[in-house]
Symmetry: C2
Subunit: 252 residues, 2 copies
Amino acid sequence: MAVQSVGAISDEPVLSAEELAARLRGVGKERYHHQHPFHLMMHEGKLSRGQMQAWALNRYYYQSRIPIKDAIILSRSEDPDFRRAWRKRVVDHDGDSIQEGGIERWIRLAEATGLDRERVMRCDEVLPAVRYAVDAYLDLVKDRTFLEAVASSLTELFSRDLIALRMDRLRQHYPWLSSGLDYFTARLHQAPEDARFALQYVTEHAHTRAEQELAIAALRAKCDILWAQLDAIHFAYVQPGWPPPGAFRMES
Amino acid sequence: MAVQSVGAISDEPVLSAEELAARLRGVGKERYHHQHPFHLMMHEGKLSRGQMQAWALNRYYYQSRIPIKDAIILSRSEDPDFRRAWRKRVVDHDGDSIQEGGIERWIRLAEATGLDRERVMRCDEVLPAVRYAVDAYLDLVKDRTFLEAVASSLTELFSRDLIALRMDRLRQHYPWLSSGLDYFTARLHQAPEDARFALQYVTEHAHTRAEQELAIAALRAKCDILWAQLDAIHFAYVQPGWPPPGAFRMES
């Protein structure tokens, strides 16, 4: 229900691979959450420990849904090559016998903020608005075309720079968090690998201009989903600061 | 994914009809959006015309989904008596050959704020977070048990008082809106009728304590959905005031 009409543009000429990549990168410039005021405050060292806890606890719900999202995409592909490549993402987040996954690493970040592991994993203090946004992501990869589902993952094109900056600033402003940064260390190389594969897939499989526009719209929708999570967190815990009934409350 | 565990409570004794009704009313007291700061400001006359526009435009998305929600519930019932009673809700919102429905009346409210009808109906400036919350409501009535789907409508138990107060305050503080209040006039009697029917259904069909707790949790979830919409509107248009990229912007 969130898809904008792209019918009018279908008669326009097909974009070259370079033009399509430029349009996708333009979406990131305009809408990726690196510009969100909550992240700007985080990177300036202006957030309290309670606010960092609220972020870690809420974002855990997103992290916990990532392998589910990727399993949905896996389940929709009939191409073993694609599935093999995509499977890596599930392993990256869920871990294997050799190394722990991103979800466990995120829990350790949350623990470094001072939160109890079980409390985070219960997810019963997650802001409803964060939950809706994350669930909208699952709906997107379930209900839209396969191309759009893949394209929605392309926020990884933009994440490396944000993560590198964040690691630097977290060490600087929140030294008590330093033991919890393994999640980001791993994502520094995982995300660009994943983004390369997905970008190539989208470039090769968006044959018409209409399909290209759908892919761009899916990336925009994903940016909205990330942005809306930070809106909800900022609103409840920074300013004006009223978490809805039942949500995590910061200690005063 | 938002359902809280009610397993632990299943061994408790079944509530009487009066006890169940009291628990349901308790949910309203604690979580219904009559207490939301955006509504409090509205009723004190503190909102600007632009903020009232943002409210009318965003809430239109909710209004437009109500008959879809009710049609989903209709589609899940195998009882013609139930369906006949519930069908009234679809008619109330969509209208018939004799009278216009609630959606048309809401559009006229939005027009009274100074917005163009087509702009409202396009829904392309709706806040993503409002969209997610409303879509979560559709998911709830699709995916949870039929009893929970019906119970989620019980916010109508609480709406009459809020609407009566609102009509009084809108006339007092926003006289330029007076031509747009037909929606609320109709809901003054529609909502209590609907609530009586739904409350009776829930009381008669929640046979076990576990089912009663699920019904209560569904009403709580619906309150969260209404509250989250106002959170998003307040955050984007009142304080601190940054609508996400692409959303409705107030004229400065």
